[in-house]
């Protein structure tokens, strides 16, 4: 239990994918304008991250490694994720249209979100077990959600004042500066994992 918590807290607060590890920056910049879409996107990401981890971990551990083919990791993983996302989209559209309406528009964006491929690869780099990997996937997704939700508020403030921002900084640049401030604030949590679970 404790080890799972360690992974979870670490993934959400300390090694936040967006603010500390630089994964999934594109949606972070692109979809954080409104709280609703930030939330929707994040939920979709959590979902796909967990699903992708659940599929890729066994394939890597039980097929690629025994055959000495771990170098195929990249190609196999991305293929699986791409197919998975597309499949999930089709399936949701057909069977759970309500959910598709909420998350559907974000799904195609996810294939090219480094956070998803990143989490599957990093899980293996860290040598996590299947359970740990799943927890890490969900935790990273939650970290992504936290960053997105927090940032959507900041964005609303920043965008509302966009008129008084210098021309050259309007749009993406000022958003990045805001991200810098958010990311520096998260540094305060460094060491929290050791501190909490001493």
């Amino acid at each position: 239990m404790k080890e799972y918590l360690i992974i979870l807290v670490g993934a959400v607060l300390v090694n936040n994918y967006v603010l500390a590890k630089f994964l999934g920056i594109c949606p972070f910049l692109g979809v954080s304008k409104k709280l609703d879409s930030a939330f929707g996107m994040s939920v979709a990401v959590i979902f796909v991250m967990a699903l992708a981890t659940a599929v890729t971990w066994p394939i890597y551990t039980y097929i690629l490694v025994p055959k000495g083919l771990s170098y195929l990791q990249t190609i196999v993983f991305i293929l699986i994720i791409a197919a998975l996302v597309q499949f999930v989209e089709i399936a949701l559209k057909k069977y759970i249209p309500a959910l598709h309406k909420a998350l559907g528009i974000y799904l195609p964006l996810i294939t090219t979100n480094c956070a998803v491929l990143g989490v599957t690869i990093l899980n293996l780099d860290e040598g996590y077990t299947f359970g740990q990997s799943l927890v890490n996937a969900v935790g990273s997704g939650l970290g992504f959600l936290l960053a997105m939700v927090l940032f959507s508020g900041v964005r609303s403030r920043v965008d509302a004042a966009a008129g008084s921002t210098p021309k050259a900084f309007q749009g993406i640049p000022i958003t990045l500066v805001a991200a810098a401030i958010c990311s520096v604030s998260f540094m305060g949590f460094s060491g929290i994992v050791d501190g909490l679970f001493k």
Binding site: L69, L72, L79, A83, Q86, F87, I90, K93
Partner: protein, 274 residues
């Protein structure tokens, strides 16, 4: 070496590729929903200005109407003929000309023609100034010159020249956003072919108008009498020109004693002449 080292990779990656493509193809088949391809096609052709000139709530709405409700394909004003053609093509219907339009400001009360009655120090916007005595000008119908219309125009067609708004016909696409923004409803969208229009909106009595503005329409009816095509009528102290009858001959322009009837060329010159 060789075959051996290639066998497993090929089997595994090929297998996953095969499997996933089969699943996708089957899934697409089994779970297929009618895609709204027509909508996508139509929407892709629209300029995306979401100006509402078509009469629908934005481009998506218009695309939907074209794709499913048989709306006309020539309603997108900013897109002009080009978009009209493409939409017709996408829908497989005959193309009708888009009526090209542009916006004109029906006020000629620039700073040489009329005065300001008060020293307005409040918020610098037409809508705000209009709250006080219907604006700072001695003519309460006139252009306030704070440029609410400029802010509304996505195309940068409007500028303030000598205290009144002037629209550059060459830049204006006729979306009508400015007309909605003007608190005095001075801006109207007219067909591109009509180059003569009345540059005044005052229904005040002629005597009063003459007092407050040199360029205002005083309702003298000279234009009505001059026009051979019967395009000009004066109602309620204000002339109006029916663009369908007007041949842009310019007779009324010369006849007007105050210069309230103008040509768009003279207006556009004002912009360049500045």
């Amino acid at each position: 070496m060789g075959v051996g080292s290639m066998l497993f990779p090929v089997i595994i990656v090929g297998g996953i590729g095969l499997l996933s493509s089969i699943i996708l193809v089957v899934a697409a088949k089994v779970m297929a929903l009618p895609a709204d391809e027509l909508f996508d096609k139509v929407r892709a052709e629209l300029p995306g200005a979401n100006c509402g000139a078509c009469g629908y709530a934005g481009c998506d709405d218009y695309a939907k109407a074209v794709a499913h409700d048989g709306a006309k394909t020539n309603l997108c004003v900013p897109g002009g003929d080009a978009v009209g053609h493409k939409l017709s093509e996408a829908m497989g219907v005959a193309f009708e000309d888009v009526e090209e339009q542009y916006a004109v400001v029906r006020c000629s009360g620039n700073c040489y023609a009329t005065d300001s009655i008060m020293d307005y120090e409040g918020k610098q916007s037409c809508a705000a100034c209009n709250f006080f005595y219907q604006g700072k000008g001695s003519c309460s119908h006139g252009c306030l010159g704070y440029g609410d219309c400029i802010a509304a125009c996505q195309y940068g067609a409007i500028s303030i020249v000598d205290g009144i708004a002037v629209i550059d016909k060459a830049v204006c696409v006729g979306c009508g956003m400015c007309a909605k923004a003007c608190p005095n409803h001075l801006i109207t969208v007219i067909p591109a072919t009509s180059t003569v229009y009345v540059g005044c909106s005052s229904h005040d009595k002629g005597a009063f108008t003459r007092k407050v503005c040199k360029n205002g329409c005083i309702g003298c009816k000279k234009c009505e009498k001059t026009c051979e095509n019967g395009a000009v009528t004066v109602t309620d102290n204000l002339a109006s020109i029916d663009p369908r009858k007007c041949t842009s001959c310019g007779a009324c322009v010369t006849a007007c004693p105050t210069g309230a009837i103008v040509t768009c060329a003279s207006r556009c010159e004002a912009i360049v002449g500045e």
